[in-house]
């Protein structure tokens, strides 16, 4: 599979991350999105008239929508990532897969505006992004009450991968994640998955990877 990729794009990272979690090798074709705007050249507009990245080519299949790419990757290499086991979970998965577009438009738009000075109304994008984050926080809080750590189910699905990158990178667009404890726990669950890969701004789960030193804990206790 060939991915037309930009290393700093959260949407491209969704596909790199999903492929890595599934162990699917990708051939990357880097695209000079910034500053070159190569994705708007005639060659690229012929591939994808929408002028967006990523683009995934697999044999005769050419996909330009990240949801379709996630479905394609999971169907071919990891059906466990699709919530097919019960109708409610399947519907939730679709719900949050579509919801991810709102995150791309709002949080992703704010990030492009703030970081690369692409045109846009930053304040309005930030407002919409915060609305979307609050909705996500409520969902993840309610899921935890149901003993489910992920958006659609008790295990991660493509919907989680669809929402994850733009949420983690919200601070790049000037939006703090401090008010959202459920989102932080959910992020950690994803950052600890086997096969997880990084992108600038999204890191491995360092903070929970090592046991605290028991002696240090005792010392603290004695001081208290």
């Amino acid at each position: 599979m060939k991915l037309y990729d930009y290393i700093l794009s959260p949407s491209c990272y969704k596909i790199r991350l999903m492929a890595s979690l599934l162990g699917v090798p990708l051939t990357l074709r880097p695209v000079d999105f910034h500053p070159g705007e190569e994705h708007l050249t005639p060659e690229f507009l012929a591939l994808n008239p929408a002028g967006t990245l990523p683009i995934l080519a697999d044999g005769g299949l050419l996909l330009t929508e990240t949801s379709a790419m996630l479905v394609h990757l999971a169907t071919s290499a990891g059906p466990d990532w699709l919530a097919r086991h019960d109708p409610q979970a399947a519907a939730s998965e679709q719900q949050w897969l579509s919801f991810a577009h709102r995150l791309t438009a709002s949080l992703g738009g704010a990030r492009l505006c703030d970081m690369f000075q692409r045109p846009g109304d930053l304040a309005s994008l930030q407002r919409q992004g915060i609305m979307a984050l609050r909705e996500l926080e409520v969902r993840l809080f309610e899921q935890r009450l149901r003993q489910q750590a992920f958006l659609a189910s008790d295990r991660p699905t493509i919907a989680d991968i669809a929402c994850f990158p733009h949420v983690v990178l919200a601070p790049d667009g000037g939006i703090s994640l401090d008010p959202y404890p459920s989102i932080r726990l959910w992020q950690r669950s994803i950052r600890g998955l086997p096969g997880f890969i990084e992108m600038p701004g999204i890191y491995r789960r360092h903070e929970l990877s090592e046991e605290p030193d028991p002696d240090a804990a005792n010392e603290t206790a004695e001081q208290v």
């Binding site: 290393i7 700093l8 500053p35 690369f116 701004g201």
Partner: protein, 280 residues
């Protein structure tokens, strides 16, 4: 207060990306417009119509708000045949322009921020190196810097000990020379040109002049963007936002010698736009 930094040169646009719409931007709180005229010439004016000096060098459009006493600093390697000139593009960072430069001068953070690329644990030691303020050139220089790197450049496939030299020729610009994996004996040139928008906000324009005939240009751009974006999240979370010039504020270690010299040089010239003078 802008002070003597008024007379320094700053990048305000990428020449190749400056279209007929020009670029409206700011320099140290002063709004200005970089215009591409019909004949292709470039003109820069402040909002109140004052024409500013223009220099086209190192892929960028440069200007100054004051009366520069020297011309834009020279990077002789930029004219050396065979180098690929890489325009990395602008990245906005919510930090002091001086902090952006200081972070660029620091190597101790490599294993922790640029993990498995510019550094890796347990190779965290910064060996002794030389730092001086060169009086004649009036520049800060750090030389004989060495660091173990898993992937020092796009053209490096295995870990190597990389040699570095750092140079600060202007208050918000730094030039880094490092081991060139593709051509031993030469130095790759990596620069950080910082446009101060406000005391705590800047546009950063990385630019490179490399010997690398293998890597596609897009890969070179992406490698440097990836590195700089790793720095960006650190820079935006530094406290205090302004660069402290009061020695009581922080305790430097030997690895911070370049930073100490940079701060001393800033202080000596009263280059304090983006600096915190008194500990708070």
């Amino acid at each position: 207060m802008i002070g003597p930094m008024m007379d320094a040169w700053y990048p305000v646009a990428l020449e190749s990306r400056l279209g007929t719409n020009g670029r409206s931007t700011r320099l140290m709180d002063t709004p200005l417009h970089v215009a591409r005229l019909n004949g292709g010439a470039i003109e820069i004016r402040t909002e109140d119509g004052r024409a500013l000096p223009v220099r086209l060098r190192y892929g960028h459009v440069w200007t100054s708000l004051g009366a520069p006493t020297t011309d834009l600093f020279d990077i002789p390697e930029a004219d050396q045949p065979g180098r690929r000139l890489v325009e990395v593009g602008v990245v906005r960072v919510r930090c002091s322009p001086l902090r952006a430069v200081e972070n660029f001068l620091d190597i101790a953070h490599f294993p922790f921020v640029h993990t498995d690329i510019l550094g890796a644990e347990p190779h965290t030691e910064v060996e002794k190196y030389e730092v001086e303020i060169r009086e004649k050139e009036d520049e800060v220089w750090a030389t004989q810097v060495k660091f173990y790197q898993p992937q020092a450049a796009k053209s490096a496939s295995t870990g190597i000990t990389t040699d570095y030299m750092y140079r600060v020729p202007a208050p918000t610009c730094s030039v880094l020379y490092k081991t060139c994996p593709a051509r031993p004996g030469e130095w790759d040139v990596i620069t950080l040109f910082v446009q101060p928008l406000a005391e705590d906000l800047c546009d950063v324009w990385p630019w490179m002049a490399l010997f690398d005939d293998e890597s596609p240009m897009t890969d070179l751009i992406h490698f440097q963007q990836m590195i700089f974006l790793q720095d960006r999240s650190i820079l935006e979370n530094q406290i205090p936002r302004l660069l402290p010039l009061d020695p009581g504020m922080e305790i430097p270690t030997r690895a911070d010698l370049t930073s100490v010299a940079y701060r001393r040089w800033l202080k000596r010239h009263n280059y304090t736009y983006g600096a915190q003078l008194v500990a708070q």
